[in-house]
Symmetry: C2
Subunit: 331 residues, 2 copies
Amino acid sequence: MSATPASLPAALLGAFLTELRATFSDREPRGLYQPIDYILDLGGKRVRPLLALLAGRMYGDEDLRQAMPVALAVEVFHNFTLVHDDIMDDSPLRRGQATVHEKWDVNTGILSGDLMLIQAYAHLCRCPNAAALPGLLAAFNRVATGVCEGQQLDVDFETRSDVTVGEYLSMIERKTAVLLGGALEMGALAAGAGSVDAQHLYAFGRLTGLAFQLQDDLLDTFGDSQVTGKRTGNDIIRNKKTFLYLQASAALPPAESAELAALFASSPADPGPKVERVTELMVLAGTPRAVAELRDAYQAEAVAHLTAAGGDPAVKEVLLQLAEDLLQREA
Amino acid sequence: MSATPASLPAALLGAFLTELRATFSDREPRGLYQPIDYILDLGGKRVRPLLALLAGRMYGDEDLRQAMPVALAVEVFHNFTLVHDDIMDDSPLRRGQATVHEKWDVNTGILSGDLMLIQAYAHLCRCPNAAALPGLLAAFNRVATGVCEGQQLDVDFETRSDVTVGEYLSMIERKTAVLLGGALEMGALAAGAGSVDAQHLYAFGRLTGLAFQLQDDLLDTFGDSQVTGKRTGNDIIRNKKTFLYLQASAALPPAESAELAALFASSPADPGPKVERVTELMVLAGTPRAVAELRDAYQAEAVAHLTAAGGDPAVKEVLLQLAEDLLQREA
């Protein structure tokens, strides 16, 4: 497959979707397999498989044969976490459609999710680069364990009032960032990259993921709703203790910090004044600048790791552009 | 480790429990790891890890280093299925103690179970016989997929009135028998056994598992409660459509078959007369003999596979004795 750097992501995504759909089946029992095809067909940006394929291409996987099993593994794993997380969060919708446990039932969500986790491993094991298999599995086990830990920390934090900024960062790192890093690391390993290069790619993905999460939190409160397409202040209305809340809470003088906590314990019918006051307190705490600085520091560190990695410079450039788009998409 | 054939199972079990307990940890987050240690420490007969270690020993794994990761993998996997199945069946008790979702909550059961499935793979990947890894993983993926399919079929059958005897056997084969076979197959593969021997051991375990399940169903209705320690007729009282019900239903004349169906749609306050009449109908249908014959056929086929396998004859003898004990334990 040849493509100009600019058209490469679209070409890889097309190849991935063809492979993904080829896994859909009429296999029995239908009650087990149908929900799997349903959630995998709902769409999404397919960022993780794209990262895996780009990382493979960086190290010479021209026909995508080495990295494609990794791409399938990370996408199926990611969707497994969505199915089980949606049960735990009691979410009715995913990508605008009914979640698996809503469309079928909770037991179906549990069991189909379990099989998806097994299928993710089965995909990974199909990587034709046999020498890479132990390293791929070690990376996958490590990443998958981290994702479970991140989800548990997220659950724990909901009932704790003493979560620190550091604990929050550790939670989002595991819940979202390590899988982005892992997709890149495993794509590179599958294509035969050395462990130093693979670790640079892992760090690039992990740090970009952290920067993205901070940017996402920042835009929720300080973004232009005309640009983001989302209502501003959603996290504040839902009393979601994001990095912004934790930073402001720690940086404000005691009286204002207590006021912030009280506001986050309230759910007024008209949330307007609450959003306005919380936003004021965050500005007073220097939150927007602090978050932007941390985001930029992560991004700079991410770029340094990508620069230090070997591999095809043209594909590297595509990865860099992709990370920038991700961070500026809604800014 | 040297042991006489008779004392070998106890010696292997002791070694296994030491290794299992060494996996228990103080790792954070506690809400994720504590339930895993809890369920793994509840006990049980540890049949699957014992089978894995015996199979390894049959092919020269004297120090248990090759088969121990398999033993841990199958035990952790089996307990993962218990945690998730107990949620799906809403069971409050497991081995006389509170189930994970009862002691903690459903979300903890889902997430800790997920991590156990990942840990099962991580254990398997620790097998030092690198050449065996692809075969081990292929077997594990196949067995784990079968177990999920078996659980789904079990769920589906609860709301179906047209389940055939063949479908029922296919369900219990996947739900319970393939993991017994897989434990033996993987233990042998880890120790370097060839695929023909490994397949004979798989068949021995699978067929023994089927025979055991039929024996279990038979004793529930026709066993001596003084010997089994369980109330006779439990499955009938709970309207559980076991092999016995399906066989009788197919073998009886239309009028009696309809009577049986009606009895299995009722839940009288005093179940005595119902149990008595269902038992009579089953005797009329020739059920006890039909089930015993099928059980014996499975057992004979199992023994033939074990006999055909290579490996240490002394350990083979231990496996044969273990299968006999399993089938006669409650007879």
